[in-house]
């Protein structure tokens, strides 16, 4: 295990459970296989395909929202889809994160003028990471996930610091 490298073999490690959980969460961000539009080809299929290989970051797809940690909103959300997006988000167990992938999910993209299109998925669900691009390259999606991991780490540290200060 990679931890051995830091602690030496057969060593005992003390860690707060919440810290441990956050490490685990960071390293196994399973996303929901929910591709809406063009971005799904790049962000879900190519990113997890043989060249970009999302698995090495611990990012893997789950078919059910109940097993997923992250929802990648990959595509244009319209008012007919909005219900489903919201419902799927509600079905995911806590803690959960949302990645808005592509211009459409961020703010409506090239379709923002059409009245049936939701101008950004943040109107429906809270978004943690926005990935610009139309569509973003698989590398961008991976960078987005690294950003998300950093964000989770920062949240832990913030929480611990707050407790230390007795806030």
């Amino acid at each position: 295990m990679a931890l051995d490298r830091f602690t030496g073999e057969n060593s005992t490690l003390f860690i707060r459970s919440e810290q441990l959980f956050d490490v685990a969460r960071r390293k196994s961000l399973w996303y929901m296989a929910f591709g809406i539009a063009c971005c799904a080809i790049e962000g879900l299929m190519h990113a997890s395909g043989p060249k970009y290989d999302f698995d090495r970051m611990g990012v893997f797809f789950r078919a059910s929202p109940r097993q997923a940690d992250v929802m990648i909103v990959a595509g244009t959300v319209n008012w007919k889809m909005a219900d489903t997006v919201k419902r799927l988000y509600d079905e995911m167990p806590e803690p959960k994160w949302v990645v808005a992938m592509g211009a459409c999910a961020c703010m409506g993209g090239p379709f923002r003028e059409y009245p049936n299109v939701v101008m950004g998925v943040d109107k429906i669900v809270p978004v943690d990471v926005y990935i610009p691009g139309c569509p973003p390259r698989p590398e961008s999606v991976q960078f987005g996930f690294i950003t998300l991991m950093d964000k989770i780490k920062a949240q832990t540290e913030e929480r611990l610091a707050a407790r230390r200060d007795g806030r």
Partner: protein, 569 residues
Amino acid sequence: MQPDATVVKSALSRCDIDVSVQDVENLGLVCRVSAEDSRAAVGSLHDSDLAFDFLIDVFGIDTGGAVDVVYRLRSLSRDEEVTVKAAYPYGAALESVWDLFPAALLPERELAELFGLGLNGHPNPRRLLTTDGCDPYLLKSNPVRTAEEVRERDGQLVDREHLARTFGSLNAARDGEGQQAKPSAYRAPAIMPAGVRRIPTAVDARQAEHLMLNMGPQHPSTHGVLRLLLELDGETVVAGEAVIGYLHRGIEKLAESRRYGALGTLMDRGDYVAGIHGELAAALATEKLLGVEVPRRANYLRVLLGELNRIASHTVWYGPMGLDSGAMGLFLYVFRDREALLDILEEITGARMMFNYIRPGGVLRDITPTADAKIRAFLDAFSVYVEENAEILMGNEIFQARTQGVGVLSRDAAVAFGLSGANLRASGLNFDVRRDRPYAAYSELDFDVPVAEQGDIYARCAVRIEEMRQSARIIRQCLDGMPDGEFTAKVAKVLRPPAGEAYAAVESPRGELGVHLVSDGSDAPYRFRYRPPALFALGAGESLLPGTLIADAVVTMGSMDLILGEVDR
């Protein structure tokens, strides 16, 4: 190509239909009939000796005082095309022609909904693309959002009224209004497709109820946001209905506020795995209106890119086809090939998926020597890989058992449902836009059009695999025979084609991708119609559902090669 005007006129007059026949440039023969006669006119063209048995498209044009309903018909046996137009007043009821052309089932619903028309004689006259309460967007009286409205995005937090309408109970429960909330507007419809009634069956002398299964829009094997409502008796599908519109984002409407040179950006996002073909169709239609002569080199570049894109598109179909039928490994193999293709496409166009490379008049930039070397290297590798991939899936005994004789579309059904492309050719009909209506440089190139007779899933796979081989052949010819010259004609920065109409079709990986362009002389199209081959394939796939097993339903729908961006537009 074009029937004799007098013959068409006499065929229609024999049925007491008052008709004016006109030969319109870039469009062919246009018969204008009254709204009351439209069904009879289409019917008599279908039944007469002219044998117009294939509905290419049905759509509407808001002419300012009425809605022009346009039927575009083709006679496959005589290889002729004709357009029928009928002006319906706003809010009138459209007479359905679905019993003559089952292909009209879905497009008619779309037309009625987006133009605010009623629908008479249709088995399922409900909304297709939008939710209740949405306006008929394609009418000119419903403008798109203004720049100010878009800019105010962050100020206006949530459209409360629309949310309440769409979410119903979901939101209410969240806001603590809780138990009293009205049920969500999201409800499984009680009506199923024509001719199917919900009857409890007797299994082992027990009464068993049918199960309604809602598959999608979030389902890994529906290839996007297709939603299938299935009525199941055990594992057998009794009735099935496709619910679409989850990706309806108004490509046709938005095109009316885009310049002609920018239509490609919208077409890229319509059929998003074969953007080049969409761009090409839009560019061809624009060029027809403008009367621009495209340089020969540009035509070769268009074909080159189009065929590269065709292979890339078929890989996206082929890999998930394996996933649908339970073969995981193939997906990884074909995505290796697709990565190489996207690398080439990026080298030439600058983008992996949304190229906007083909512009009216030619292409955006010339091919580089690096790209040429890359393509040749890819072709050498691909000639091995395509056989390997074909063997992995098509040579697999389990796959053969699951697909041979399953999802059979007969020749007549394929014609009736307006199928095109590989789906049509797998049913034994030999029609290819590239060969029969040559565009770009196809008339100078040598390629075979694969045809299969069985019409089952296996045949569709076989045809597409052969198409990939032929594409590789065409690409090699393009590279070797690439003529010198300009890669684009001299066209104005802002295109203002003269008023008129044009129809241009290309053979996209999914079939005949047509663009019907109406210009009023300004810098943006008056009406832009995108004929989506996948929508017609969906209608045919829907008709295959009753009687299949649920696992076969997944493979059947997968084999039609649906791209939901194109179905919903």
